[in-house]
């Protein structure tokens, strides 16, 4: 079995040399048969030159080994067919011996010069191809922020550049190996078996490319063949794999496994340099991605920290400010040194009352948001009448909108929502409009039906929202710079609106221009008829 395999390994090379030998014999025979009948007219010098030309051509195509063979064959042909005595390998004239020797020397030198020029050209071609491949790899790996993505790009580029069936990046030790990324055939993602693990460890230990079976990549050493256990077929055997260590300095990132046989011939003869370059580029790519990930992680932590600080500051202000009013009033009422008038007592009590309400609202907001975020609310979606919803929202906000005109324009459209959540969302929007719009300006509540959807809008007459603030108005604790000075609020109201609308299966967005801000809630039309209220 091993012999058969070895035969398969070298057959490709033999086949090309064999073709060269056959071509040499055939071309020599052809040229000889053409020249022989007319040799007296052509002359020995020209015949020799023509056969020399043939030798050089063969060297150029099949290399110096076949070229040497061609030099010998053409020399024999020249001697046998053209140098007297004809049809004998003896030479009559001593000067012809010199001519034959010179012919042989020129053939050999010319042939070897040509084949080394050819090898240099092939090397230049390979270098150019390598450069292109590495550039493509670098391009594919730059900007990868996830180490896994960087490794996946590496595998894709290896498969593409070598035209290999598959490639994968593995790491591990002993029996614990993991496939981090792969590309190519589905089989490329396979977990390494015991043979592959042994070769992978060998590659890591020797810090050099190690091979299992035939990959189509030639080696300077004899291919190391590991006989697999069981009864694998020869073609499975022939599809081997190369293992390339991925390292940065003393740190091992893993092993690149390239499945054979590779299809790209340019790198067949000297694959080590390319694979080493791949490994170093890959290792750097992975390190870059790891650093980028660490930086992104640090950034996220910093943002979370800022968020926490903003939350603490916001909650402190929102809770302590109404408390301050209550505490001052209560402690004044308890102050025995002053004989408060009925008027004073009432004013203190009113402060306590209004500030307790305010405190209650802030606490409810925080709890609502917490319920939304922890997912404990189970929405009860059912058909709701848009018109009565808007009318009810207007009624519940009568106190904060006193002195303003609040209009409702709506048909009794049936929309699908959780009634109490949607009502709270609308109340928050109306309160928001009352807080941030021009004092005394009108607020318009509308419901419009549009292509299977119902749009509920709350529009105010106000300064509008700055373009840079628009994308953030639904963020928790986000308050536009201009407004945070003018109006005190928790910055939670709109975040709650967004949460409640989402629970009703809808969406909310904001449109703003100078003179008007419009919050629009889009909900589905209820499919079946409403239950009468």
């Amino acid at each position: 079995m091993l012999a058969a395999y070895n035969g398969a390994v070298t057959s490709a090379r033999l086949r090309t040399h064999g073709t060269g030998v056959i071509a040499t014999v055939a071309a020599t025979a052809l040229l000889t048969s053409v020249l022989a009948p007319v040799q007296h007219r052509v002359g020995l010098l020209n015949e020799g030159l023509l056969l020399l030309l043939l030798t050089l051509a063969i060297s150029a195509v099949w290399g110096w080994q076949v070229g040497l063979f061609a030099a010998v064959v053409t020399n024999l042909a020249l001697n046998f067919f053209f140098v007297a005595p004809l049809h004998r390998l003896t030479v009559q004239d001593a000067s012809n011996v010199v001519a034959l020797v010179v012919f042989l020397i020129v053939s050999v030198i010319g042939g070897s010069l040509l084949s080394s020029a050819r090898a240099a050209a092939a090397e230049a071609h390979r270098s150019a191809a390598e450069t292109t491949v590495l550039l493509d790899l670098a391009r594919a790996m730059v900007g990868q922020r996830e180490p896994h993505d960087a490794l996946a790009s590496l595998c894709r580029e290896v498969v593409r550049a070598l035209n290999a069936p598959g490639a994968a990046v593995l790491s591990g030790a002993g029996t614990q190996w993991h496939v981090h990324a792969s590309a190519g055939a589905p089989d490329a993602a396979r977990a390494p078996d015991s043979n592959e693990r042994a070769i992978a460890e060998q590659a890591l230990g020797s810090r050099a490319v190690a091979r299992l079976g035939h990959t189509g990549l030639s080696t300077t050493r004899r291919p190391r063949i590991v006989r697999p256990a069981g009864t694998q077929r020869i073609d499975e055997l022939a599809a081997g794999a190369a293992f390339v260590p991925l390292r940065i300095g003393d740190r091992t990132l893993g092993v690149l496994r390239v499945d054979g046989p590779i299809g790209e011939s340019a790198f067949r003869d000297r694959p080590d340099r390319l694979l080493a370059a791949f490994a170093s580029e890959a290792a750097q790519g992975v390190q870059r991605a790891e650093l980028a990930q660490a930086a992104a992680h640090a950034e996220a932590l910093m943002q979370a920290d800022e968020m926490k600080t903003a939350l603490m500051t916001s909650i402190s202000h929102d809770l302590k400010t109404p408390l301050a009013g209550i505490k001052t009033s209560v402690s004044s009422l308890l102050d025995g040194a002053v004989n408060w008038s009925e008027n004073d007592r009432r004013a203190f009590l009113e402060t306590i009352d209004s500030q307790a309400d305010r405190l209650n609202r802030v606490i409810s907001d925080i709890l609502d948001l917490n319920r939304i975020e922890s997912g404990v609310i189970t929405p009860n979606r059912q058909p709701v009448d848009a018109h009565s919803l808007l009318v009810e929202a207007r009624a519940r906000t009568a106190l904060v909108t006193s002195g303003r005109e609040v209009t409702v324009e709506a048909e009794p459209f049936p929309l699908l929502a959780d009634e109490s959540l949607m009502l709270q969302a609308l109340v928050n929007l109306v309160e928001n409009a009352a807080k941030y719009s021009t004092p005394g300006g009108a607020i318009h509540l509308r419901a419009e039906r549009d292509d299977g959807k119902i749009r509920l809008s709350v529009e105010d007459e106000g300064p509008g929202i700055a373009a840079e603030d628009l994308p953030h108005v639904f963020d928790r604790f986000y308050r536009a710079a201009e407004q945070s000075r003018r109006v005190k609020g928790s910055g939670l109201g709109l975040a709650i609106v967004k949460g409640f609308v989402a629970l009703s299966g809808g969406s909310v967005h904001v449109e703003s221009e100078t003179g008007a801000t419009r919050f629009v809630i889009t909900l589905l039309v209820a499919a079946h008829t409403m239950t009468p209220a």
């Binding site: 202000h317 505490k327 402060t351």
Partner: protein
């Protein structure tokens, strides 16, 4: 004549409650809802004391303090909320005298106002400072605690003198360091801590139950004087 107090806060309910509480105790009170009106009220009303919220709609309490200190030494008590620490310290550095953290009771507010008014009334150039058993004779550079003389190094003496001359005021670390050691030592908080400890030891003071020098956590120190 009753003392005039200006209440600067953008919360109308709190402003009104404070106003009533103070008026009940005979103070003459005016309100301002933002920094601009506060500054014009300061010029028109000429308050004896200012209660100043740190978060104002148009400018910060720190800015109001800085603006005020250009022309006046009117005592300022900051009204702050937990989370305002950086701006609180900045306002103290700009010359605010004291701070109250919201929510506060009316008794504490009234007590702080009395202390601030009393110290403002006292000249800062007296020859002898007496406070709760401690006597500082500025002309002779001598210090007595309960009648017993205490020997201080020149730096300890300068430190005690600066604290005592600002009795009742909250002094931030940089303020004390600048006044006693000089500008280049403004951030050498550790040195200050060492000297305060030495001074407390010599005066027989206890940081946990201070008789003279009280630590204002994260801010600085205050020379205290028991109300009598």
């Amino acid at each position: 004549m009753s003392a005039r107090v200006l209440v600067v806060d953008d919360e109308p309910q709190l402003r009104r409650a404070v106003r009533r509480a103070l008026e009940g105790h005979g103070y003459s009170v005016r309100e301002a809802e933002d920094g601009t009106s506060a500054l014009s009220e300061i010029a028109a009303f000429r308050p004896d004391l200012i209660l100043l919220d740190l978060m104002l709609p148009d400018m910060s309490g720190v800015d109001v303090c800085r603006e005020l200190r250009r022309t006046r030494e009117t005592p300022v008590i900051l009204l702050s909320v937990i989370g305002d620490e950086p701006s609180k310290v900045a306002a103290l550095d700009e010359g605010a005298d004291d701070y109250l953290t919201k929510p506060f009771g009316s008794q504490e507010l009234l007590a702080r106002i009395r202390v601030a008014l009393r110290h403002a009334a006292r000249s800062r150039n007296e020859a002898v400072i007496s406070a709760g058993g401690l006597t500082l004779d500025l002309a002779r550079r001598t210090v007595y605690v309960d009648g017993r003389e205490v020997h201080l190094t020149p730096t300890e003496y300068s430190l005690l003198k600066y604290l005592a001359q600002n009795t009742g005021r909250v002094l931030t670390h940089p303020m004390i360091l600048r006044a006693v050691w000089g500008e280049e030592y403004a951030h050498d908080t550790q040195t200050l801590r060492t000297y305060i400890n030495q001074l407390r030891a010599k005066l027989g003071d206890d940081a946990a139950a201070p008789r003279f020098i009280r630590t204002e956590p994260g801010v600085g120190y205050r020379f205290v004087e028991s109300e009598s």
